[in-house]
Amino acid sequence: MNSRRTKFGAGAAALAASAMLLAACSGGGAADSGETTGTLDFYTNKAAWEPDFDELNGASEASVDISLNTTGYSDADQYDAFIKQSFRTSKSPGLFTWQTGSSLTELVDEGLIAETTDIWSNAVDEGWVTEDLRETYTVDGKQYCVPMNIAYWVMYYNTKIFEEQGIEVPTTWEELDAVAEKLTSAGVTPYYQTSTLFTFQWFQQMVAGTDPELYEGLSTGEVKYTDPEIVDIMNLWLEQQEAGWFSDAGSTVDPAVGLKQGDYAMINFGSFFNGSLDGAGMVSGEDYDMFVIPKTNADLERTPVAVESGPLCVAENSSQKALGLAYSEWWMSDEAQTAWSEARGDVAFNPKATVADPMLAELGSTVASDDYLVYDRYFEATPTPILTVALEQFGAFIANPGDPMPFLETIQAEADKYWADQE
């Protein structure tokens, strides 16, 4: 009898333990602790930048008594899924990196992101950010998140190749074409290209460089990918492909290494590429340099430059919401951005910050002048489902250049579906 009672008790205990296990698995939001100093849990898909964030802890501890406990993911898709799942649990992050554009709007629409309008108002008053950049972070008139970084999409070139061929930095589209022709006839491939992921930049460059409104129209659905203006641009790209201006799309050589060893003379990339080139053993200003790509249409008043900006966001239901917002406020300051530029070696979004790399400092001040028009990079400007198809189709076009219509029609079919769902 006793033994049976014991068995019954043990069975009941085992059942209770499983119930507790289930309870532990279930989630729920957590109340904001209200603390504004301490250790802030930070999640990012830029795992390689973890040491840079750690390096910044010295400055943030001294200034606002907050240090980051950084968890870096190296797979962007896995990271996105993790962040989305975390909103359903009590562990939603106090600070995390995300994307601007439709990805940000999606989170804001669900009420998952803490508003940062006050932080932005203060930063604009202090002269820490431009009004242009504020637009990128605005959803329905309110601001969300703060900019983690900013990168301008420019043309990097191998200075030795330019010197050997006696080439000057082009200032007009015609001059750029002449450079490409000269390089090709000298047996040097002018431009880098790839058929996976970064397949959009030349399309982006030529559409925005032809007409910024046309580019804007693609991101709002007012312009179709099959419109004659877009087809003409694709045909121009096809002519350039057929003239042998682009590198082998099937190559898996690292783009920075390819530029170093002269596989191609130029590469259209974001200004974060300095880090990769430095890592490949090239010296900024000596072995490589950059220029803003001239406008395709000479009649444009200003030269369009693609900008990409990745946000730092705070989850609305995080227990570290107050701490995350306090860090975000400090992050915008020139003090924080000077320290960040030193740690990361990137262009600063804050014009009052001191940029460590002279090449990047010059780029920042050049693009800030009235001669340039900054527009959102294709990656952020295009709604995700259309982007996915477009990246694949540009990749297929790059791998097998031919009549652009089938590629454009495939992208437009996805765009039609997407915009119909939005109505």
């Binding site: 069975g11 289930l22 099937g250 694949e392 189709q393 791998a399 097998n400």
Partner: protein
């Protein structure tokens, strides 16, 4: 008051409960949840919206999905012909051979690698101007195919890469099968004058059938879920020309955040795999094949 018997039953249920709950939570619940999601539109945030068979209709209207389905079929056929076929040949040729084990061991080494690792190694070999192109160049062959760019060549070379990894383990399994064949019928056949092809078709092959059924069954299931090697070698591209169903499912779910469509593909893939496995194993293990 409960009787002793019912008390005993209740305590037994208590002991079983943790296991049952874990199986339910970790296996049945995800299956049911994925099936539910396949009938909804869901971006991973907020609540799923019920759309009935909408995802399934969208799936079959998408030419990319059809291409992905055909690539997956190519993987199934290719995996049966190459890794299983070569594995069987290797087992037969080295079986009963003095030192045969040392001929099989090198084939087993790649099995220790992950699919992603195999993909990376073969990317170095097959990319434009990669190791293979350079080796061919040394023999004066400069006009080489674009191994990983043109379809269906890219799927074929990826099947070969997967075969490089899979041959060894199949050979090992077939060798175990050959070793388990009783000596008597073999000797009787030899006494009757059966050798070579005749011995294989009349004795070895029929007696290997239970093991062949398992090896082929496992290969069919493994090839239907081909994912890692394609992800690391071509990411399904250029465009979508080398995508497999598992990769399409992954892209729709985690890249496009279309959890509904991704789940619909998962449900389709599960049904296809189950039907293939059941039909094949039922046929192969049925009594009519008994010797």
């Amino acid at each position: 008051m409960a009787s002793r018997g019912s008390q005993y039953q209740w305590s037994a249920r208590g002991f079983i409960a943790p296991g049952v709950i874990l199986v339910a939570v970790l296996l049945y619940l995800p299956l049911l949840w994925t099936t539910f999601l396949s009938f909804t539109e869901y971006n991973g945030l907020g609540d799923p919206d019920w759309i009935g068979l909408g995802n399934f209709a969208e799936m079959f209207e998408d030419p990319g999905f059809i291409g992905s389905l055909l690539n997956t079929l190519l993987w199934v056929v290719g995996t049966l012909l190459i890794p299983v076929g070569i594995g069987l040949a290797l087992a037969l040729l080295t079986w009963n051979l003095p030192g045969g084990v040392w001929l099989r061991v090198p084939f087993l080494i790649p099995y220790a690698l992950s699919g992603i690792g195999v993909g990376l190694i073969w990317s170095f070999i097959l990319s434009s101007n990669g190791a293979l192109d350079q080796a061919l160049g040394a023999f004066g062959i400069t006009e080489t195919p674009r191994w990983l760019v043109d379809a269906p060549l890219n799927t074929v070379v990826m099947i070969i890469a997967a075969a490089w990894q899979g041959v060894g383990v199949n050979a090992l399994l077939f060798t175990i099968g050959l070793n388990s064949i009783p000596k008597e019928p073999l000797e009787a056949a030899r006494v009757d004058g059966a050798t070579g092809g005749r011995l294989f078709t009349s004795i070895l092959w029929p007696m290997l059938r239970p093991l062949t059924a398992v090896v082929v069954g496992l290969s069919i299931v493994a090839s239907l879920k081909t994912f890692d090697i394609v992800l690391s070698m071509t990411k399904g591209g250029p465009g979508r020309v080398s995508e497999t169903l598992a990769l399409t499912m992954y892209k729709e779910t985690f890249v496009n955040s279309d959890y509904g469509l991704g789940s619909a593909i998962a449900v389709f893939l599960t049904i296809v795999t189950m039907i293939a496995a059941i039909l094949y194993l039922r046929e192969q293990l049925s009594k009519k094949h008994e010797i």
